[in-house]
Amino acid sequence: MSVEASPMAIPISADRTRRGHLRRRLPKISRSFLLSSLTVALLLATWTLVTDMGWANELFLPKPQAVWAAFIKTMTRGYQGATLLQHLGASLYRILTAFTLACLVGIPLGVLMGVSRNARALLNPLIEFYRPLPPLGLYTLLVMWLGIGESSKLSLLFLAGLPGIVISTIQAVTSVDPVYVRAAQSLGATRRHLLFHVYLPAAGPLILAGMRISLGFTYTVLVAAEIVAASAGIGWMIWDAAKFLLSDVVIMGLIVLGLTGVLLDLIMRGIAKLLMPWA
């Protein structure tokens, strides 16, 4: 009934809400943007004040100017043989490779476990057991098994990202409305059709949300992964600089890590919008 009624209602209400939306939405965006900028500005001001007044030991909290100078120096002359972009490149390569692998394994695994109860029962113990394990504990074992090279680092990042994707994919698939599935089946859909035209599109938004969270997890273990025998990477740079008490480089590295994380998340959201405009 409501479906029939809506086409008639649309012209009036849509027009009204759209105008109302426009009026309220524009100031709303700039307002939240303003508030966000205020937070950043306040933080910077406090930082400047605290360091200028000499309230903080410069060894622990260097001045913003010193951190900026460290940024410029690392951009142009580099830190221990690699520029900031090279360090960032090494880290992003590790993160993106591991994350891609985690998606390639995690999404099919999650779909399988979501669709088939038997598969879920078979694989659940494994996923549930290693999900809460602290990554650093795993890492010592990974280093012993796989050595100090790239493979142990990638495995750690992969293992950090995998459970998030698997679990959110299972949830996404199991929460697909069975009406869609039955409707498609009654129209003669094969399993293949079901997968690509019902399950994945319906579960897509939730899967992508899981991927975003999982990328965050991967990101948080980066420094841990680069502690052992790396010679490039933002995480390694932070670790190494801490050994020499170069706190300006440490803070600069953390800011770069944070901003890169935000950027990666924005990219993920952009991809989500592009792939799934219905979400």
Binding site: L59, Y79, Q80, G81, V143, M144, I148, A229, S231, F244
Partner: protein, 335 residues
């Protein structure tokens, strides 16, 4: 967060200390390096507890100089031990510590081990190989110094930063071709297809001595000067015990580090112990009136680290002189 807790702890400690007239710390935390030296004897025989009755004494094992620096910066220890490169870093970054005691001189207890089947007979053969050292430590410093002296470009090989225990594990897996690090882990590499290419003792003869120095936090030293003397006295007793009873010391080292007795004996011989009355001669700390060669080593180490871009600038010599404080030892040995 930890630092905040530590700061709060210091504040409360300061408050309680002023409340009590008696100058006695409730607890003393000693950070000691995982090395073969007389600090293990002092710890094993409980000599510090004998000097400080009623004080809760806590020993914390620290993996290397980098970790010790962090522990000091985080105010997690009252006493610590540092090799000359971390000391140069700490002094340059104005960490609130002073050097009060020679813990040990490093001879062949630290050395570069190379894989026998890789035909490495000189530093030049390291080109294209994978070499490990704990960054920021004495051996990392000597590795770069030795390469520079031989005219070998460090960029021609892969130099990795690994903790000593990780070096041993990576060596057993075959991931690295050479490593400059220290006992007790060094021996594991030598016994598994390795041979010694160069020792830290040989580098000392070339004019690059490396050593470990006992340090005290300034705040502790200002508040409990007599307890710093007690600490020095206990460590001096440990050193004397080491020099007078080598066999019993070997048993202690073997037990503390879970090593066979013969290995402990050999490692002991690779460590130079300086009796406390000798520490005041020019070769070591020197006296309060005229500081010794340790200052020279610190200046040249800091200079090297500045050239490596690990330190921002070279401090004047006076700052390193101020760091070395033989006054406590002077009181203990009665000068």
């Amino acid at each position: 967060m930890k630092r905040l807790v530590a700061m709060l702890a210091v504040v409360t400690m300061a408050l309680t200390a002023t409340a009590h007239a008696e100058d006695k710390p409730a607890k003393v935390t000693v950070g000691y390096l995982n090395l073969v030296n007389a600090q293990l004897v002092t710890k094993h025989l409980g000599l510090l507890a004998k000097e400080m009755p009623g004080v809760d004494i806590k020993y914390v094992k620290v993996g290397g100089g980098g970790d010790m620096l962090r522990a000091i910066a985080g105010n997690d220890v009252d006493f610590g031990g540092l090799g000359n490169p971390p000391t140069a870093i700490g002094a340059t970054r104005a960490l609130p510590i002073k050097g009060i005691l020679v813990i040990n001189m490093l001879d062949y207890v630290e050395a570069m081990v190379v894989r026998t089947d890789k035909n490495i007979t000189s530093l030049k053969d390291l080109k294209g190989k994978t070499v490990a050292a704990p960054f920021g430590s004495t051996t990392h410093y000597l590795l770069l110094q030795a390469l520079k002296d031989e005219g070998v470009d460090p960029a021609s090989m892969k130099i990795l930063d690994l903790a000593p225990s990780d070096i041993a594990a990576a060596w057993l897996r075959g991931d690295i071709d050479a490593a400059w690090f220290w006992e007790p882990n060094l021996d594991k590499a030598v016994k598994n297809g390795g041979k010694i290419l160069i020792t830290s003792g040989e580098m000392a003869k070339r004019g690059y001595p490396t050593w470990d120095i006992g340090v005290v936090m300034n705040a502790f030293a200002d508040k409990y000067p007599s307890y710093v003397e007690k600490f020095v006295k206990a460590e001096c007793e440990g050193i004397d015990f080491w020099l007078k009873n080598p066999e019993k010391t070997a048993e202690i080292i073997a037990e503390e580090l879970s090593l066979p007795l013969e290995d402990a004996t050999r490692m002991m011989k690779g460590t130079g112990m300086v009796p406390c009355n000798k520490q005041l001669i020019e070769e070591y700390l020197g006296t309060s009136a005229k500081k010794g060669k340790f200052v020279d080593t610190l200046v040249s180490t800091a200079d090297f680290l500045v050239k490596q871009e690990r330190l921002p600038k070279l401090l004047p010599r006076a700052d390193f002189e101020a760091f070395i404080q033989p006054s406590y030892i002077e009181k203990v040995v009665g000068h």
